[in-house]
Structures are given as C-alpha cells and as structure tokens.
C-alpha cells in the first residue's frame, strides 16, 4: 500500500470542503473495496478523508411517502430495515444476495453504488486495462471473458458493474442525492448515475470531481411482487453471471433491471411494455444491440431464461 495521510471529518459539508483542499484525496467510508484496491496499488490516494462518522446513517420517511437512505447506512441495516423488507423487497433481496455477512456489516449504501468492477484484468496490474491505466488497452476482450459484459460495453472496455444492490435500486427508480465542495446539493436519478465506457472507461459515473453522495431516495412504494433472482457459479458469496431485479404487477406489467451483463445495472424502460408478451419478446428488446464475446454469449440465453423464471414466479 502507498503511504497516505488521514483525516476524520464530522459533517457532510466538512467532508466535501476537505476533499477540495487536498490533491489526490479520496473519501473512505466502509473501506471494503477501497482498501482492497489500495493493497494492490490499483488505488493510490495520497490522503484519506474518513467519512465514517458524519451521520448519514439513518433511513427516514420523505414528504411524498418514500424513504431517504443515508449514504452510510450499512448494507446489513438497509436489508434488515422493516420498511425496506415490507415495501421494497427487491432491494432487501438484492442486498442479501451480495457479498458475505461480514462485508455487508461494513459496506455502505453509497460505497456499494461506487464500488469498482471485479474484472480480473482490472485487478491484474501486469495486464493492460483502459479503466486502470487509460489508453493502455483492454486485455479482457481477447482474454477470459465469461464473467464480463455483453451489452453497453465498448472496444475499450467490457467490464461489468458488480453491485446487486444497484440493480434493485434501478428497478425501484431510486434517486441519488449529493453535495459538492461549494455546498451545492443536487439529485441524480440512478438511471443517470453511471456512464457507459465508450472510449473513456476510467470515467464511471456522472458525479463531478469531489462530489459526495449523501443519500439515496426511494419513491413511495409501488406495490407489486418483488423478486431478485441471481445466477452465479456457486450458491452463495459470488458475483452474478446474470441477475434479475423485478417488480411485477397483477395486470402483467412490470419494472425489470438486469445485473451482471453491463457496465451498469441494465434497464430499458422502453422495452418494459413487452413484459406482458413474455420473456422472449421482452429479453430480445432489452438486450438489443448486445455484443457478446465467444466466452459470454451464453449470458443472452441466460437472461431470457432467468426472466422467464422470474415472470413465472411472479404469477404464482
């Protein structure tokens, strides 16, 4: 690990102001992803601003019947919250399908959203990777790409976003709230949080430099049947090959986001009018423009079949 200086802050505004003063600084929340990357010298911050105790650890009702989840609420606390379990089951299920009990106790809501890809070529510092070293090339495209993206990817990068939680939040139309060093706050719909890689895969989100996520807002409950189905190489504690977050309604309509297939949770609202027509028609529209490799073209069939399973479960 590279040497760094360390600072604790006590409020979100203090955190945002502190980062503006320090070149090469990063926020440290739970640390479960950042410290791992620092040990491998994939992340080499010169200064860490520990935001672990700036509040933002509550889940509170909003004026219009939704919930505001503090950025530092742990994945365990979010999954176990009675209101989340009752009205936003897809989010609770997505969280519980991710990581291990130990990691969920430490990992935070905003940290989960901003975690980096687990592409093995991003992790292997002997390999070229446009996300890790812009312009160095992509070893994954001609490499072992079974786990990697089939859609939304580019000639520069085929990494996937690893989060389960974010897939649930995408189906729920969550909104991310932030503060910048000048103290200005704004709201970003989760559908606009992540960038597709294009030629600049190192730019992963539409957050400004030094912008801090303070909370995630869920709209008022929409009802329906909530399902999160994750397909992986072992029964627990593994990243998704494909996952499906679904909110299904009695009239046959629904909201469906897919994990494990793209650089961000994959949702195409325009395709959802085809959900009542069945998995085949919906999946074809949802995955239109997919560009899989030989190694991961199986994911297209897997997406369709997992959606079919989820639609069946929704009806039963």
């Amino acid at each position: 690990m590279k040497s760094f200086t360390y600072q604790r802050v006590t409020t979100p505004a203090e955190a945002a102001a502190a980062i503006a003063d320090k070149p090469g600084a990063k926020f440290l929340a739970g640390g479960t992803n950042l410290l791992d990357l620092m040990k491998l010298q994939i992340e080499t911050p010169a200064h860490l601003i520990d935001i672990g105790r700036i509040g933002l650890d509550k889940i509170e009702p909003t004026a219009n019947g939704g919930l505001r989840i503090g950025a530092l609420v742990s994945n365990t606390d979010l999954a176990a919250d009675p209101k989340i379990r009752k009205d936003y089951g897809v989010l609770s299920r997505a969280l519980l399908a991710g990581a291990s009990g130990q990691l969920r106790n430490k990992a935070t809501t905003a940290g989960n959203l901003l975690q980096r890809t687990r592409c093995p070529y991003f992790y292997d510092t002997n390999q070229p990777c446009n996300k890790r070293v812009p312009g160095s090339g992509c070893a994954a495209i001609a490499g072992f790409s079974k786990q990697l993206a089939v859609i939304g990817s580019s000639d520069a990068c085929i990494a996937t976003h690893p989060s389960d939680m974010a897939v649930g939040m995408m189906a729920l139309d969550a909104v991310v709230e932030t503060i910048n060093p000048a103290g200005k706050t704004r709201q970003i719909p989760i559908s606009q949080l992540y960038r597709l890689p294009g030629k600049t895969p190192h730019l992963e989100t539409n957050l400004e430099k030094n912008e801090l996520i303070t909370s995630v807002v869920l709209p008022a409950p929409v009802g329906g049947t909530h399902i999160y189905h994750k397909v992986r190489d072992r029964a627990s504690y593994a990243f998704a090959l494909v996952s499906v977050a679904a909110i299904l309604f009695k009239d046959g309509s629904g909201k469906i986001a897919i994990g494990g297939v793209a650089p961000r949770p994959w949702r195409v609202p325009g395709a959802e009018k085809l959900i009542p027509s069945g998995a085949k028609a919906f999946a074809a529209k949802l995955m239109e423009g997919a560009r899989p490799t030989q190694d991961n073209k199986y994911k297209l069939a897997l997406v369709e079949r997992t959606i079919e399973l989820v639609l069946k479960e929704g009806k039963s």
Partner: protein, 218 residues
C-alpha cells in the same frame, strides 16, 4: 488460542512462532544487505516518509492506545502491535473470513478495515470470547463436534458463528430466508448461507454447523 499453543510449547523448546520469527529476521538482514549493494551502483530513490497517527480503542475490554502507520489494518494492529495472534490472516482481501472479529458486537473482516477507522470502538477477538479455563459455549461446541482440522480458519469461524446467532436473534434476514417478514429461526440452511464468508479448506463445514446448532439450541 495462538497464545495457548505457545504456552504448551514450554520446557525450553523454541515454539513454532519463535522459530518463524527468528527466520524472518535472518531473511530481512540478507535482503537489506542486497539492497545496500544495489544502491551503491544506482541513484538514490526518493524516500517515502511513513505517516503515522494515533488511535484508541478497546480490545477484549482493555483500552489500547496505538501510534501506528496510517496503512495499518485492524488485523495487523491486533496481530503485530497488540500481539493478539488468535485472529488469523488468510487471504488479506476479505474473501476467506479468517480475520473475522466483532466490532461493537458486529462481525467484520478486520483485514479490510484500517485501525484508524476504529477510534473508540469496542473490539472482541477470539481471545476475548473465552479462555482455555472458561471457554465460550461456541468454543466448547467446536471441540465437542470436531469443528476444525488444521484450525487456521477456526477463530474466524467461531467469531462469525457467535455473531450469526445474534443476527438471527435480532431478526436480520438472509438470502436463505423464505419470508423476509417472518421470524428468523436457526436452520442448517440459514446457518450455511450466513457463514458463506468463512472458508475452511479442510472442509469441516458439517461439523461447524452441528456445533452452532447445539449452541443455538436448534
């Protein structure tokens, strides 16, 4: 448990740990000589200063104050600074669970946490759960049910299992829970899912599950 091993190895014998420590010093000396030789022929490299900071937390009921390199993980602070070597370093990347400790009653991977993040926290390690004279019920059950072979993952397994029982009591759901809103109960399937972050290469899983079931009264 590591400390116990050392005590049992008395009678003038050098313990395995002391032997390893001695070897490490010898290797370090060799490496330093080599580096010095290289430096004589090449331009001096920029020296990166070590940045240290202070932290204070409670470990097994005792207040500890440390001045440490900012990079020190909670795991390394326990093992290398406080010499509580019961907590084990397995993968050092949060994948194996050997480093599991309880922080304010909740289990975490101590390898993926900086010591500095734990100011004023209360930490319980395997040494704090029980002693050889007065074992924690989970420690006794692991012995009774043969819940280990080589023992390396065992402190993490025990800390994790103790926390799992508390999590079930607190009604925290898991991926194996059929109904998110129902009362949470100890079952074999629930325990196995909740323990998936603790890997045992010897494969003592079924005995670990039996040990935990006995403690849970299931």
């Amino acid at each position: 448990m590591g400390e116990t091993m050392k005590e049992e190895n008395s009678a003038g014998n050098i313990s395995r740990r002391e032997m390893l420590a001695g070897t490490a010093i010898a290797v370090t000396t060799l490496a330093l000589t080599k580096v010095t030789g290289v430096e004589a022929a090449s331009p001096p490299q920029a020296v990166v200063p070590v940045v240290s900071a202070e932290v204070s937390f409670t470990v097994n009921g005792k207040i500890q104050k440390l001045e440490i390199d900012t990079r020190t993980t909670l795991l390394d602070s326990l093992r290398e600074h406080l010499h509580l070597t019961g907590t084990k370093k397995g993968c050092d990347h949060g994948q194996c669970g050997a480093c599991t400790v309880l922080v304010n009653g909740k289990r975490i991977n101590s390898c993926l946490s900086l010591a500095l993040q734990h100011e004023n926290d209360s930490i319980t390690t395997i040494e704090g759960l029980g002693t050889p004279e007065k074992l924690h019920p989970m420690q006794s059950a692991f012995i009774k049910h043969d819940g280990y072979q080589c023992g390396y993952c065992t402190p993490g397994q025990i800390c994790s299992a103790v926390a799992v029982l508390e999590e079930i009591k607190a009604g925290i759901p898991s991926h194996a829970s059929g109904d998110l809103n129902a009362e949470m109960l100890f079952t074999n399937a629930e325990f196995r899912e909740r323990m998936s972050g603790n890997i045992c290469r010897c494969g003592a899983y079924s005995n670990i599950a039996e040990a935990a079931a006995e403690v849970a009264g299931a």
